[in-house]
C-alpha cells in the first residue's frame, strides 16, 4: 500500500472549560508521496496536533483522513472506531520527547519493541537494526547498553533509528533537529534524502528552516489550527525572504541585494553556495563602481495569494509586539491587579475558605443520609450545584462510571449469602446506600480544583491557621506544600498522556489513543516516572529561583483574601441545603 495523504474537512477537538474547543481544522488538502513537506507556523498553531492526527493519536471530531485509498479510521466491532493497521504500519511518527521514551534494559530491546508489530524474522530485525544505527551515526557496540546511559544526542539518534528501522512509507517528524549537533544534523539530512529517494514521503514540523528548507520540496503553513495551501519551497523562500525570522541565508541575500549587489538565483538550490556567493561579491567589488542601480528582482516574484497573506499577517503581528512597554508601564499603576477580582475567572470567584466550609458542611449532611429519599434529595441538590460546573465534571466521566460499576459489584458481593446460598437484599442495599453517599460527596468535590488557585489556598491556610505559628507549628511550610501539590497535579495527567501517545504510536495499537492496551503499560510507566522525577527537579529549581526556602528570607504578603458578599451567599446556600438534609434525616 502506498499513496498520498488526503484530508477532507478533518478536525480535532479537545475538552475545554466550557464544552469542547477546536484545536485544528477543518483541514482539507493532501501531502504527496515521495516529497518532503515542512510544516511551519508559530507555536500553538497546531503543527504537532496535525502530525498526531495523521498517526491516529487524536480522534477525529469530524471529517476524514486517508492514506492512499484506506481511511485511517475504520468502524470495528460494536461500532467502535478503530485505526487501520496497514496505515499505521506505513507511518512512523516521532513526537517531541520521543528521545526520552526508553523502558527496555538494552538498546537492542528498544528496536525489538518498535519492530514487533511488523512481525519480521529475527535475522531481518538484526539487519535493520544494524543499518539504522549506521545511518544515524550510532556505534554498533551500543546495542547492549542501557538506553538511559547514552548521551542526549545519542538518545535523539536512537529515537530516529528506531523509527527508520521500521522502514515506514511516511515519516512524521516533530522538531527533528532540536538537540542535534552539526554532525547529527547532517546525518538526519542524509537519512531524509535517502528516504525520499526510496520513494518515501515526510511531513516535518519545524522551526529550523536554515537547515531543513534546502532539502524540502514543499512548505505548508499552519495558522490558528488551519492548514494553508502547501507551496513549493523555492516559492515560499521567495515570498518570505524579508521576514525578520526568515533563514539567515535569505536575509543575507536580501541585505546584499539591497546594497545593490547583483546576485543570481541558482536554478536548483534556494540560495547560492558560499563560494558562489563570495565569488559574486568579490568579482563585483573588483569591477569598480558597482553603482548601477537595480531594484532587487527576487522580491516581486510570484506571490501566491495565501502565502503572501500569511506573511503579511505575521508581519502585522510583529508590529503588535513592538507596541509595548512605554505607555503600558505608565498605565501600570492604574490597573487593578488584585488577584481576587476580575479576569481570573472561576478560579478566583470564591474565597477558598468559603468553598471548603461549604463543602464540609454539605458532605457531612450527605454522609448522614440513611434512607433512599434522603440520598435522592442529596442527589438533586448536588445536581443543582454542579449544573453550572458541568464542564469541570466532564473529564471525570470515565472515573465516575468505573466507580459506579465498582459500587454495584461491591453491593452485589455484600448481598451474597453462603449458608444457605442466596441473596440478601437488605445487606446489599445498606452497602449501596453508604457508597452512593460517598459518590455524591466525591462528585461535589470534583470541581474544587478548578475553583481555587494554589496561591489562594496557601493564603487561606495561612490566614486561618497563622496563629498556630506562635506554637511553632510550621504553618507556612504546610501551606506552601499544599500550593505545590496543587500546581503539580495537572502535570501528572499531561505527562502520562505524552508517553502513552509515544508508546501507542510505536506499538501500532489500533485502539483510540485514550485507551492503551495493557501490554503497553510497561513502556509507558518507566519513561513516565523518570519524567515526573525530572519535572519535580525542575519545579524545585523554579522554587529556588524564586527565593523560596531562602533561610534569611522573611516572606511578606502581597495580598489578603477578603470575604465577599458572594462568599456569604455561597455559604448561606450550603447551610440551607445542609439543614434541609439534616431535617430530612431526622424525619424520615
Amino acid at each position: 500500500m502506498s499513496g498520498n495523504w488526503t484530508f477532507d474537512d478533518a478536525a480535532v477537538y479537545a475538552a475545554a472549560e466550557y464544552g469542547t474547543k477546536r484545536i485544528i481544522g477543518p483541514i482539507d488538502g493532501s501531502f504527496e508521496q515521495g516529497r518532503i513537506t515542512l510544516l511551519v507556523g508559530a507555536n500553538g498553531a497546531g503543527k504537532s496536533t496535525l502530525l498526531e492526527m495523521m498517526a491516529g493519536l487524536r480522534p477525529l471530531h469530524s471529517g476524514s483522513v486517508a492514506l492512499g485509498s484506506s481511511s485511517l479510521w475504520q468502524k470495528g466491532k460494536r461500532r467502535k472506531m478503530r485505526l487501520d493497521r496497514n496505515v499505521l504500519l506505513h507511518t512512523g511518527i516521532s513526537l517531541q520527547h520521543s528521545e526520552s521514551q526508553w523502558f527496555a534494559p538494552k538498546v537492542s530491546d528498544e528496536f525489538r519493541f518498535s519492530l514487533k508489530p511488523y512481525k519480521l524474522p529475527e535475522a531481518e530485525q538484526e539487519d535493520r537494526m544494524r543499518k539504522a544505527m549506521e545511518a544515524t551515526g550510532l556505534p554498533p557496540q551500543l546495542t547492549e547498553n542501557d538506553p538511559w546511559t547514552l548521551s542526549g544526542g545519542q538518545q535523539r539518534r536512537l529515537s530516529l533509528a528506531c523509527l527508520i528501522a521500521c522502514q515506514p512509507q511516511w515519516l512524521l517528524l516533530d522538531e527533528p533537529t532540536s538537540g542535534l549537533d552539526t554532525a547529527g544534523i547532517s546525518q538526519l539530512l542524509d537519512v531524509l534524502q535517502a528516504h525520499r529517494e526510496a520513494g518515501g514521503g515526510a511531513v516535518i514540523s519545524t522551526h529550523d528552516l536554515d537547515v531543513l528548507l534546502p532539502i524540502a520540496d514543499e512548505v505548508a503553513v499552519m495558522e490558528d489550527g488551519l492548514l494553508l495551501q502547501a507551496v513549493p519551497a523555492a516559492e515560499w523562500a521567495a515570498v518570505h525572504a524579508s521576514d525578520y525570522a526568515a533563514p539567515q541565508a535569505l536575509r543575507v541575500l536580501k541585505e546584499l541585494r539591497h546594497a545593490r549587489f547583483e546576485l543570481s538565483q541558482p536554478d536548483t538550490a534556494l540560495w547560492p553556495s558560499l563560494s558562489e556567493l563570495a565569488g559574486a561579491i568579490a568579482s563585483q567589488l573588483a569591477a569598480t563602481g558597482h553603482g548601477e542601480l537595480r531594484e532587487p528582482k527576487l522580491m516581486q516574484k510570484q506571490q501566491t495569494a495565501q502565502g503572501a497573506d500569511a506573511g503579511r499577517e505575521r508581519q502585522a503581528r510583529s508590529v503588535d509586539y513592538d507596541v509595548e512597554s512605554p505607555h503600558q508601564s505608565q498605565e501600570a499603576d492604574k490597573v487593578n491587579i488584585s488577584p481576587q477580582i476580575g479576569a481570573g475567572g472561576l478560579a478566583s470567584r470564591f474565597d477558598p475558605r468559603a468553598l471548603i466550609l461549604s463543602y464540609v458542611l454539605l458532605a457531612a449532611a450527605v454522609l448522614m443520609q440513611g434512607t433512599w429519599p434522603g440520598i435522592g434529595v442529596a442527589v438533586v441538590l448536588t445536581g443543582i450545584a454542579l449544573f453550572p460546573l458541568r464542564a469541570q465534571i466532564r473529564p471525570w466521566i470515565k472515573v465516575i462510571r468505573a466507580y459506579s460499576i465498582m459500587i454495584a459489584a461491591i453491593a452485589f458481593i455484600a448481598g451474597i449469602q453462603l449458608k444457605p446460598l442466596g441473596f440478601e437484599w437488605t445487606n446489599a442495599q445498606f452497602t449501596l446506600l453508604r457508597f452512593s453517599g460517598l459518590l455524591v460527596v466525591m462528585l461535589l468535590g470534583l470541581p474544587m480544583l478548578a475553583m481555587v488557585t494554589p496561591l489562594r489556598v496557601q493564603r487561606a491556610i495561612e490566614q486561618t491557621f497563622g496563629w498556630l505559628g506562635r506554637f511553632k507549628v510550621p504553618v507556612s511550610s504546610v501551606a506552601l506544600t499544599v500550593t505545590l501539590i496543587f500546581r503539580f497535579i495537572p502535570l501528572l495527567g499531561s505527562e502520562w498522556q505524552r508517553f502513552a501517545a509515544i508508546a501507542h504510536a510505536r506499538g501500532k495499537a489500533t485502539t483510540q489513543a485514550g485507551s492503551l492496551p495493557v501490554s503497553m503499560l510497561f513502556p509507558v510507566v518507566i519513561p513516565y516516572i523518570r519524567s515526573l522525577l525530572r519535572l519535580a527537579e525542575q519545579l524545585a529549581d523554579a522554587l529556588e529561583a524564586r527565593g523560596i526556602g531562602n533561610p534569611n528570607g522573611k516572606p511578606t504578603r502581597g495580598f489578603k483574601l477578603r470575604f465577599a458578599a458572594r462568599d456569604a451567599l455561597l455559604m448561606l446556600a450550603a447551610l440551607l441545603s445542609a439543614s434541609l438534609l439534616f431535617y430530612l434525616n431526622a424525619v424520615l
Partner: protein
Amino acid sequence: MERNLLLQLTDVAVRAFTANEQEEPVAILKNIHMRVEQGEWIALIGRNGSGKSTLLKLIAGFQAGEASGFLDWGDALASRSGIKAPIVMQQPEASMVGATPIEDLIIMLEQNGVKGELIAEQAANALARTGMLDRGHQPVGTLSGGQKQRVAIAGCLAVDAPILLMDEPTAMLDPEASIYVHDIVRKLNRSGIAVIWITQKLDELREGDRVIALEQGEIVFDGAAEGFYARSRAMDSVCERLGFEAPYVVQTAWELEKHGVELASLPLTPAALAKAVQRR
C-alpha cells in the same frame, strides 16, 4: 574591589554527587576563573554536558554538586538581601509556580521580602516591561511558551537585580517568539542590566558580545564574539573546534576572505555583512 565588578569566580570546581564513595566523582566544572562587570552581555556557549547550565546555576546560588572555590559578590550585589542573581530557565512549562502571571510574581516578591503594599505595583510594572500585563490574570496553562518566558523574565525584573541569568530561554520557542524574547532582554541590557545568556543558537551573537565557551567543564575561550570565529593560518576557529556550525553570515565572511576580500571587522548579522562589504 572596583566599582564595576558584579561578581567574580575564582578557581571554582564542581563535582557530581556520587552515591558510591569509592567511585571517583565526575568533574562537571573545573578551574573556572571569570569576572562579570556591570552591564555586560556574556554569551555562554558549549555543547550538551559541557557544564554551562551548572555554571549558571552556581551563580544563581543553586546546589549543583560538590562545589569548591570562591564566589565573590561586587558591592552592587553584596548589599542585596534576597535573590542576588535571578535566573530564567529553559523549560517554560515547569518554571512557573503561580497559577497566573500575577500570582507567580506575587509569590516571588513575597518570598523576597518586598513590603506587602508595594508588591502589587512592582508586579504590574515588571509585567508591563515584558509586555505581559494585559495577560496578567490568564491561567498559566493557556499561555504560549514565549509568554511564559516573558513572565519568568518579568519575575527577574520585579526583584530589581542588576544581573539576569538566562539558561537557553529561547530553546523551546518558535523563531518569532525567540527573536521577541531576545530583543526584550537586549533592551534590558542596554538599560544597564548585565546578562549571562546561554545559547546554542549562534546567530544570537552580536558584535561586541563577550563569549565564554566551555568544553568538558573548562573555559576554553573568553573574549569578543569576533575572536570566537577568528581563524588563524594553522587552526580552525574556536567555534569550529567545538563542533558548532557558524552562522551563514560568518561563513560568507570566511569565504570572502578566501576570495581575497578582507573585511575591516567580522560581521555577525546580515545587515552588518552588507555594510561591511560596501564600506570597504
